[in-house]
């Protein structure tokens, strides 16, 4: 086939025209090739980045902080997502009408809002954190450039001030600041995850580009706290503080069998849900952090030390003159009796008797008993900032100190520490390790402090405190036998003991036949005229103990006469114990 031979197809073209068309086409090709080389070869990183930015997304997977609940699952702290309003001043464009609308939504005056938004800051700042869900919807509907909502988690404390001292609180960045929130920060905190995804035009996720780093949610915590008992302790303490016009106070409720802290309340209180007014005073967990001189509540340990040596029996009689001189110090009894048994010394809280008992021991022997009971050492609850109290080495004791130590001056303890030490009497000589967390009974191994017989003898002595002739008549709980010890100590003010400032305390246990609960109460500076531990701290103890025993459905152990039934009122039947 020879086209040139066909007449019809024969073209009479000038050669330059051929050359022209050819070079134009080639030129165009060259331009495309250069451009392609420029884009693909020289500029590829930049363009690939742009492309990825459209289709690829790096997502952070949110992780929330773990929940804290009481032993029955009642919530004490929970993190829940909330929206907060952020502004980027550089992009902010608002009309006057929009200002007014936004001010109305946020519930603040227009000038205030304007001042806030026209702040000269680079980057962005939060306008309101958090906003309510309704506000969030209305703000989103406005669609103002430069204003955006951001999701973050906020911590809520449903029990509020009732459990505030134990649970503690977190700061704005979700870091535990106080209490359990701080102690278990590492366990509670959530760790954000990350994933890279490919998106299509409509924003659907198509596939993962890299292995997903899963978010780790914070672990949940179950505390030993029983919220009902905690509430009762909180309420009764608040009532007592108000009636006696006291400066503060604490209540600790321990499970004598397991060492769990069932309740721990302090006054004054603070609201962990309101972070506006930070005041360090009310936030302090006094029961764990503050120390005081225990006063007469130390006397059962003197009795235990003496009994342990086999020097005396509970019924051994001791001469107790009204005053007794040790060095330059004159020890005095408020209600003197010429002769008392060891048991009566505890019952009537005789200082002279206690001093004579303690002086029959060497300082080393007495120190050893106090040390073994946990005084001067950290109680081991794991609470941040818990104090060890103060117990000086026996070799540095002067005779006067040896004597004052017998009625609780010259050493200091925290309420938690003191209540823990009483566990030895409640638990037949064994002290269980303290715990703010709920735990299973089989996990626990106690430490033997006293022999079972000594512990029982001292407990029997402490039971007489709540009987006729004792100092703790107002600590009685109907239906139950109660053992405990009152304490009234002068406060140390500027290095001197103030004559009119007291710390009233009571530590006790019930049911005395087989104690299940230990409750320690201390009231700081009651100024309503009454200041004896039995009258100020005692009623708080009795109220909390009665309610807690009922809460735990423990069978009464007092003799029948105490739980008599009246004829004219129909009984309320409570079923207790037994079972298959």
């Amino acid at each position: 086939m020879n086209y040139h031979s066909r007449k019809l197809l024969k073209l009479n073209l000038a050669p330059w025209r051929m050359a022209m068309v050819g070079s134009l086409l080639l030129g165009g090709l060259a331009v495309v090739a250069v451009r392609a080389f420029y884009l693909q070869g020289l500029n590829t990183d930049y363009l690939q980045g742009k492309g990825d930015a459209v289709a690829n997304r790096n997502l952070t997977l949110p992780a929330h902080r773990g929940q804290v609940s009481d032993r029955h699952g009642q919530l004490l702290a929970i993190s829940t997502p909330v929206e907060s309003l952020w502004a980027r001043p550089a992009e902010l464009k608002l009309t006057t009408a929009q200002y007014a609308h936004l001010a109305e939504v946020l519930g603040m005056s227009a000038p205030d809002l304007t001042k806030k938004l026209t702040r000269k800051t680079r980057g962005e700042f939060s306008v309101r954190r958090p906003v309510t869900p309704e506000q969030a919807v209305r703000i989103a509907a406005m669609g103002v450039p430069g204003l955006h909502l951001r999701r973050e988690f906020r911590r809520y404390y449903p029990a509020g001030e009732v459990a505030a001292h134990v649970v503690g609180f977190t700061n704005v960045d979700d870091l535990g600041q106080e209490g359990v929130e701080r102690a278990y920060q590492d366990w509670l905190v959530g760790r954000e995850g990350e994933r890279q995804i490919l998106r299509d035009r409509r924003g659907n996720t198509i596939r993962d580009l890299a292995p997903i780093k899963t978010a780790q949610m914070g672990g949940n915590l179950t505390l030993a706290l029983d919220l009902k008992i905690q509430y009762l302790a909180h309420r009764e303490l608040a009532v007592a503080i108000a009636t006696h016009k006291a400066k503060g106070g604490s209540v600790v409720v321990l499970d004598a069998k397991t060492g769990e802290i069932l309740a721990l309340a302090n006054q004054p209180i603070f609201n962990p849900n309101n972070r506006r007014n930070y005041q360090p005073g009310p936030m302090r967990n006094r029961a764990v952090i503050d120390t005081f001189e225990p006063g007469s509540t130390i006397k059962p340990f003197v009795a235990a030390a003496v009994l342990e040596r086999g020097l005396l029996h509970p019924d051994s009689v001791i001469d107790t003159p009204e005053t007794w001189r040790v060095g330059s110090k004159l020890v005095r009894d408020v209600h003197p009796h010429p002769q008392m048994t060891v048991s009566e010394i505890i019952q009537k809280s005789s200082n002279v008797g206690a001093v004579k008992l303690a002086m029959s021991l060497t300082p080393q022997q007495y120190w050893e008993v106090l040390h073994r009971s946990g005084f001067g050492q950290l109680p081991g609850s794991g609470f941040p900032g818990e104090s060890a109290g103060r117990l000086r080495d026996a070799s540095t004791w002067k005779p006067v100190e040896h004597a004052t130590m017998a009625y609780g001056y010259g050493l200091s303890v925290s309420l938690l520490q003191l209540s823990r030490a009483y566990m030895a009497f409640a638990n037949d000589g064994e002290v269980m390790p303290l715990s703010f967390l709920k735990r299973e009974p089989q996990e626990i191994a106690g430490v033997r402090v006293f022999s079972p017989s000594v512990a029982r003898e001292v407990r029997a002595m402490m039971e007489t405190v709540t009987q006729e002739g004792g100092t703790g008549l107002r600590t009685r709980v109907p239906g139950y036998r109660v053992a405990g010890k009152t304490g009234t100590a002068h406060k140390l003010v500027n290095g001197r003991y103030a004559a009119d400032r007291y710390l009233s305390s009571f530590v006790g246990m019930a049911p005395a036949s087989n104690p299940r609960l230990i409750i320690g109460v201390v009231i700081d500076e009651p100024s309503g005229g009454v200041y004896y531990g039995g009258s100020v701290a005692g009623p708080v103890f009795a109220q909390v103990m009665a309610a807690s025993l009922r809460q735990l459905a423990l069978p009464p152990d007092a003799p029948e006469t105490a739980t008599r039934m009246t004829q004219n009122t129909p009984p309320v039947v409570a079923r207790v114990g037994g079972g298959a």
Binding site: L75, I206, T563, A574, V576
Partner: protein, 90 residues
């Protein structure tokens, strides 16, 4: 020989279509999975908020006040409580 080629070519086309089909299904499922995950997250958050609401209503101080004022309840005094000890069932 040419027949074998033809069969192989058809097979190849069929495989290619199957790959497309599988890819499409995988994307649909993936989108569905993402949607459900998101839903799960939303429900989880709702659950948290409901728990919070529940515990606010059940706040003991509130229940205490309501029981005393609105319902007029009191704790039974000890002399009106009769304790029964249950014996073990045979």
């Amino acid at each position: 020989m040419s027949r074998l080629n033809l069969i192989l070519a058809l097979l190849l086309v069929a495989c290619a279509l199957a790959v497309i089909q599988a890819q499409h299904r995988s994307r649909t499922y993936f989108v569905e999975l993402e949607r459900l995950k998101k839903q799960a997250r939303v429900l989880d958050e709702q659950w948290g908020q409901l728990q919070l609401e529940q515990s606010t209503w059940a706040n003991l101080a509130r229940v205490d006040t309501l029981a005393r004022t609105r319902l007029g309840l009191v704790a039974p005094p000890q002399d009106r409580v009769h304790v029964e000890t249950l014996t073990a069932a045979p």
